[in-house]
Assembly symmetry: C2
Homo-oligomer: 551 residues x 2
């Protein structure tokens, strides 16, 4: 018989369930995570993408709380947007709360937000949901998976995880708790699929410590290490190794500095007295005693590393003898930018260490063998691969099938599909509407949609040609010379040549126009004629904007 | 003492020496390869990039010939452009000539081109150059490296190569010839650095045959294999395996069909009688007897695979039961497009096999151990890593250093640097001018330069706002209401809101203008005011084009 439980991944067209999930029981809704997604390179001008939670809009009063599993941008980044519409209590572990506070303070929303700190082992009762966060290893400390007990059964959400037997913070994933859950019987497991195409086991963070040790031992001069501002455990590794080699540490990058301060305050970063110095103080130290922690390992043009590569940083300049380490994974789509930065750093005479040259980064996500282990520990009745593109989910589903979980109990769905449970068996229901929600400058959602992006694309491909002409509707005649202006079409000489021809086209088009033809009609005709003319002349189709000034 | 030998890699800002190299002795110049480069994602609207050979323009009469080492686009793609300016004899092996013919025919340049077919083992005397092409393994048959004997000494150019002991065509790289060169003494080796960051040895093409066999054995229905149109040896592998499983083969994609016809004619493809069928004929066959060879493994939006993924192909539609194989490497920057295609194919219910899920593709380039082998066989006096970004060349140079080649005899240079030889020792000289040469539609070079790309970028990021207003210079006054038009700025409602405000800004700006202020000045002021207004309102800066219509 059909239960009152419904689970819905709500990430728009992004990775499934990565940025947000909704768990519904009867009239109550629990939201898990509110992260942002980075735009693909053809989403012109989009700053980032937030989950599409329009499904929840007419259910505001039913949303009880949001639980955030860890402090990475793709899990907390959309909170300011979400909380503006849904001012519900936020639950997270200490470090995660710390990172959320930093974010909410920037958004001037800290005061009005009800933020609850909890810890693995706690049991939270929210409406019909009994929530038990449990510790998992990931590339940021204090990450938790969730056990959510509902009248319909026990749901396990793995969050982003890996099984690291030698993690930086010394706390492996909580096997005992997983076993206990298994003992109670798991209705459905939702597990991280990010590395479902990676065979074997993800290496331990320990590997990175060794690689960093290797770099700092050999580096003749300064070492500059670029990583994510939120990669707290990586920062700890760098600090520990730097201490061994008597290197002082300076931080370049505002967000990283802020996160470090916060993490130290909360005790998630242990940094020896007198080890931290300012970039200014560092200048008086011998290079072999210097280590700089920087942001921008993704090649972001405005971040520290890119500015170093371009020689545009106010206080640091890369020199021969420097060693630069990129210690973070490459977000798909950033390959070109990152490689450009690496090449420029080599140009400046630095030595650059990056994956795969050395294991200066390992993934924070479980590979195939770990995914099998989780499935075999929990032996769930139903399985939903989440946190991945369709290709990853399909692969994760294959793995579950290999372990003997019946196909009909594995649901591979995209965001927006409602998952029901009938006699403890999962059933894929209707799809709730949803898509991309773009954030562009101060615009959110509908203001910048697919149509706008399409316009920007055609502007990007061939530029724009504006033609302004005096027009008398009575006589259906052009008055004076039409004025053409182009942007992004071609360089001056080439442009002037086409413009000359285009002006003629405008004249000819207007010649055979009847009296009393409305301006709008003439504008359309000129638009069409010019667009065709440009294609014939240049095999390009710039956007044409024709504007008649009536006389 | 300084010799008369000069070597110059001429690829603009691309991979060093990949698309073109010039070897000069005294008054004579030999050009090697004329390939094209694919644009990076922020080179808006650029179709492709050709080498910058402006250095050769004032030396037309000194260019004796061009030798093309193999038939890939990045080595032959720029020939039509180059030959238009430098109608010199072209030398290449048979298959390469075949592919060049296809290309020149499309460009209507076949008749006037002097095309010479040569084979490994031949010795060509061209001016002071004694050229000995030698067979190397690569992902296309008939690839040759070059031994070029000059009065100054012997130059070895590896071309793109790998050491494959079990290649598809049964012809391993010519070790004997390499040994012979070594015996004569090698002045300088220029070798492929593409995989300099890859440890170990590149797997043999044999691995792909096994992977394809595995796929076709298990595939319940049709198999669709996407690869490069020029990957002749891969096509042979597919055909051979398909034959084992009684699958008929149809080709989707014009260029691939043309290449296959040509390669069969020249005997580089052996296809059993009656095996090839048309897509139409295939419909009458059981799916398990069907194999379709298609283009578009890079996710190119207009190629067959993308159209299949979007369900936009005229004669084929992907269905559950189909197995799609992506059998080619990912050109950096195409990751997003390819993953999107893979996800869409999964959406349509197909099974998709791609690297790293299965070794359905192996690189055609030597990895570190093979690079060491080549260096140790030849023991060159000097070494120039080529065919790679700076990061690859640096790595290749480190490898040479590990093998004991003195640092001062290894030249890591970017394109345009002139390499001299003084007492048999390499010396890096001046850099000749050069950069990107963009091809965009029918425009080549200066017509579309960095400035145009910058304009396109800002159009892409925030769109364009055109403001047309009647203006009387005498009175320094605005007449009537200014008319604002936007494209790619925001969706209608949001746009109309900003436009209302912007119109006010135009009015206010013109208010305090003095009589007899020229239109151009007013246009500039309005441009500045609006740009600022937009930023304040939207945190975006659309391009503003202000046009005054004088009264």
């Amino acid at each position: 018989m059909m239960s009152n439980l419904r689970i819905i991944p709500l990430g728009g067209l992004g990775e499934v369930g990565k940025n947000m999930m909704a768990v519904e029981y009867g009239e109550d809704i629990l939201v898990i995570d509110a992260g942002l997604m980075f735009p693909e390179s053809d989403m012109y001008g989009v700053d980032f993408i937030i989950p599409d939670y329009s499904y929840l809009r007419d259910k505001k009063d039913r949303v009880r709380a949001i639980f955030v599993t860890h402090g990475h941008e793709d899990h907390i980044g959309a909170l300011p947007f979400f909380l503006r519409e849904f001012p519900v209590p936020v639950y997270a572990t200490r470090l995660t709360c710390g990172l959320i506070e930093v974010k909410l303070r920037q958004a001037h929303m800290l005061r009005e937000t009800e933020l609850h700190t909890c810890a693995p082992g706690d049991v939270l009762s929210i409406g019909p949901f009994r929530i038990e966060p449990f510790h998992v290893c990931h590339s940021i400390p204090d990450t938790v998976g969730l056990g959510v007990t509902t009248p319909a059964g026990l749901i396990i959400h793995s969050s982003d995880f890996k099984f690291d037997h030698t993690p930086v913070d010394g706390r492996p994933t909580d096997f005992a708790k997983l076993a206990e859950f298994a003992g109670r019987g798991v209705l459905v497991l939702m597990a991280d699929s990010t590395n479902a195409t990676e065979p074997g086991t993800t290496p331990s963070e320990q590997v990175v410590t060794q690689a960093l040790d290797d770099v700092m031992r050999k580096a003749p001069g300064r070492v500059i290490i670029a990583t994510f501002a939120s990669l707290i455990s990586r920062i700890q590794q760098v600090i520990d190794v730097a201490a061994c080699y008597g290197r002082r540490v300076a931080i370049a990058g505002a967000t990283m500095a802020e996160n470090v301060k916060m993490a130290m305050r909360l005790g998630y970063l242990r940094i020896p007295e007198r080890m931290m110095v300012s970039l200014g103080e560092m200048e008086s130290l011998p290079p072999s005693r210097c280590l700089i922690l920087a942001t921008g390992a993704q090649g972001e043009p405005t971040a520290v590393l890119s500015r170093l590569a371009l020689g545009q940083h106010p206080s640091i300049s890369v020199q021969p003898g420097d060693t630069v380490v990129l210690s973070s994974h490459t977000i798909p789509g950033n390959e070109e930018m990152i490689h450009r930065v690496i090449n420029r750093l080599f140009q400046k005479g630095a030595d650059v260490v990056y994956h795969p040259l050395a294991p200066v980064h390992v993934s924070g996500h479980a590979s195939q063998e770990e995914q099998k282990l989780l499935l075999n520990i929990l032996r769930p009745r139903n399985f939903v691969p989440i946190h991945g593109e369709l290709r990853h989910l399909k692969q994760h589903a294959k793995i579950a099938a290999e372990l003997g979980i019946p196909r009909e109990r594995v649901a591979v769905v995209e965001n927006g599909y409602v998952l029901y449970f009938e006699d403890d068996c999962i059933r894929v229901g209707e799809r709730v509407p949803g898509g991309y929600v773009f954030v562009d400058g101060s615009w959110v959602g509908d203001a910048v949609g697919p149509a706008v992006i399409r316009d920007r694309e055609s502007l990007a491909m061939a530029g724009v040609c504006v033609v302004v002409f005096r027009y008398s509707p009575q006589r259906g005649a052009l008055l004076g010379t039409p004025r053409l202006t182009v942007r992004g079409v071609a360089a001056r000489d080439a442009a002037e040549e086409v413009i000359a021809g285009a002006t003629e086209v405008v004249r000819r088009t207007v010649q055979d126009i009847r009296p009393r033809t409305p301006s709008a009609t003439v504008e359309r005709q000129i638009q069409a004629a010019l667009s065709e003319f440009f294609y014939q002349q240049t095999k390009n189709r710039p956007e044409v904007i024709a504007i008649a000034v009536e006389e």
